[in-house]
């Protein structure tokens, strides 16, 4: 199977779905770039992270739409086009920009079907790059999946690797509900095996990334490879863990997490979103509710502090939960130092 970066896997998914279904359009800032420039280079960008590269030459400006810097209009237009029968994939360059267009996301597209008594269909995908770790500062580095997960009517996808990213994006485009698709920008270059053909990865089905006996570790997006490193290091001491990657936070596969905890009796949740009202808190509460009798130790949450994402590399490295903190949390729940 070919090795591919997550960026290229996402790009391939977009190509294949636009090829398969002519209702799929892509719109956003600089998804091709170059319009109105002086160079004559029509595809001057292909998306700031290169995910939409090659779409304009292949599918044309009618379906690959460069927009002004107008997040509300981008998301709203995607929603309106979806109500009118298209399957738009809107791009918000950075997930932080949901702040500018939150109304269109959580008052409009998320609620149409419910408000309209089940008569509408709003198959929008809103792709956005999220996450800390690249020194982009407080307004370009947040992990907003907890915010999005809290909204009924939205589905929220958080891939951790190239294979899942492609399958989940194809699933998202074919899904009839609005989907917020969060791509961790530090994972774009991460390579993995990706089949050439189109395939789907279903929502609400966690992946069991590592198997073990002593502790259940749940990690999201970039925290998954970090957790892998921590777990692989501990395996040398005979400490083994189930590592669960939920892949989507709405719907969230609580069943797999609870089933695993029933076996291990110990849970560590690793979450890059801020600690209050986070996915970590959500998962911890649910496990405490559903499997309290099986827990042998208090649940540990590994999250950043309750601060904005800092800019300075020294601070940002302290902010992001990395393998050492994950390893320490696993040892902590095992009371092994």
């Amino acid at each position: 199977m070919p090795q591919m970066t997550m960026r290229d896997a996402l790009n391939q998914a977009l190509h294949q779905e636009m090829e398969r279904d002519e209702r799929v359009i892509v719109l956003g800032e600089d998804v091709s770039g170059g319009a109105g420039g002086t160079s004559g280079e029509r595809e001057a960008s292909g998306g700031i992270f290169g995910v939409t590269k090659g779409l304009l030459p292949r599918f044309g400006a009618g379906r690959v739409i460069d927009t002004p810097i107008s997040e509300s209009a981008i998301v709203g237009a995607a929603g309106g086009a979806a109500l009118a029968g298209l399957r738009p994939v809107a791009e918000l360059m950075f997930a932080d920009f949901v702040g500018v267009c939150m109304d269109q996301i959580y008052n409009q597209i998320a609620k149409f079907r419910y408000m309209f008594g089940g008569k509408s269909r709003c198959p929008v995908v809103i792709r956005m790059a999220m996450g800390a770790g690249m020194n982009m500062g407080p307004q370009h580095s947040q992990s907003i999946y907890a915010l999005m997960t809290a909204v009924p009517g939205l589905k929220v996808v958080v891939p951790s690797n190239a294979y899942d990213a492609k399958g989940l994006l194809i699933e998202a485009i074919r899904d009839d509900d609005p989907v917020v698709f969060l791509e961790h920008k530090a994972l774009y270059p991460r390579k993995g095996e990706v089949p050439e053909k189109p395939y789907t990865v279903p929502f609400g089905e966690a992946a069991l990334v590592r198997e073990g006996e002593h502790v259940t570790v749940v990690a999201i997006a970039r925290m998954v490879p970090f957790a892998e490193r921590a777990i692989d290091a501990l395996a040398k001491e005979g400490i083994t863990c189930d590592l669960i990657d939920p892949r989507t936070t709405s719907p969230l596969d609580f069943d797999t997490i609870v089933e695993s905890v029933e076996g291990t009796g110990r849970l560590v949740v690793v979450d890059e979103s801020p600690p209050r009202c986070s996915l970590a808190a959500d998962i911890a509460a649910t496990v405490a509710e559903r499997a309290f009798g099986r827990l042998k130790a208090p649940i540990a949450q590994v999250t950043p502090p309750h601060t904005p994402v800092p800019f300075a590399p020294a601070l940002e490295r302290a902010y992001v939960p990395g393998p050492p903190r994950i390893e320490a949390a696993i040892r902590h729940v095992l009371k092994v130092s």
Binding site: R23, R113, D176, T200, A207, L208, D253, T256, E262
Partner: protein
Amino acid sequence: MPTPIASLTMPKWGIEMTEGTITNWRVTPGTRIEKGQEILDVETEKIVNAVEAPASGVLRRIIAQEGETRSVGELIGIIADADVGEEEIERFAREFVAAAVSFEPTDAPPPTEPPKLADATAAPISAAAADDVGSEEARVSPIARRVAERLGVDLSKVHGTGRNGRVSKEDVEAYAAAVQGGTAPAAAASTVASATTASNAATPVGTSAFRRVAMNSRRRTIARRLQESKQTIPHYRLTVDVDFGPVLELRAGLPGGPSRPSVNDFLLRAAALALREHPDVNAQLEGDEILQFEHADIAIAVAADAGLVTPILRAVDTKSIVEIAHESRALIASARQGTLQREQITGGSFTVSNLGMFGVSRFDAIINAPQVAILAVGAVEPRAVVQGNDLAVARMATLTLSADHRVVDGAVGAAFLRSLGDRLRDPRGL
């Protein structure tokens, strides 16, 4: 199209208004009014405003007077044509039902049926569908898949009850247990393989025929917990021989029949009192902390068909022998019938395991963690004993205490056993 009789009700102005007070009637009964005419003033918490007539006609009645407060929707006046009879007006007033305005949540419990999902009729795809790679794996939770492998369960035969029909770990375990109990359909026989037939599992060479039996979930729980206990708890054992003659004599003096306490009931009572005296033994270990219990909740080891189970008799120290006899009998019966409730098998501060009825003279038991001690009781049998300088026959039994040395030191265990033995040798205090 004027209705013959129109109600004039306390109006609702804005979303928060629930009641209003009439400050002024601008018209008197009998006056002819037109729809839209301002006929009275009402004061709310926020404003004073005029109320418009909802219909044209004669104001036949004023129901609510100036200064009176009415809830939104309540009748405050009646408008009707002049030729409508008085009795009709009276009947209208009597039968009027006000619209209910309430912002309180419903008292009813939330609906129990699971959320229904709308029917999703897929929209047509204008372009041809691509040749997709399927996602069959998705129908089974990854943990259920692992459990199925361990139990040798064929997943295609398991009915999924999880989200969207997904096979859960519970489904796999239930299926395996059903196969074990012989209640699964014939097709399920693949989990019980014979060495002489083809099987997915490797067949040991040079052995005679055997049955390959998957552990059911209780068996696996027993296996895991006892192995963990045996391997991780520093057990030590103390043995004492006790003369049960006095207990048997006391028992013989009680009325016969099925409710007569057994020797084991006396033993439970004696153990409970001894445990009260030795809180170090009546305990659980949790991490770095010892939980010492106020009462003796004694687990009774029962051999049921599906395997060992340890239902718990609560607060034995507070109960009479008769109560203990009654409750322990009921508990053992439901353990054998498999009808124990979850709360009947969780917790416990001490365990008693009695194999006397099998003729076992003495044995030692594995601690039922997180408890810190277990008492193994052998058969009461006539044994030659030395009494003074003479040899005599007494009805003796051997009691073996297994204790967790992390919590219970040897001397503490010994003191507990002595206390227990003393109570049995002189059972009048029981």
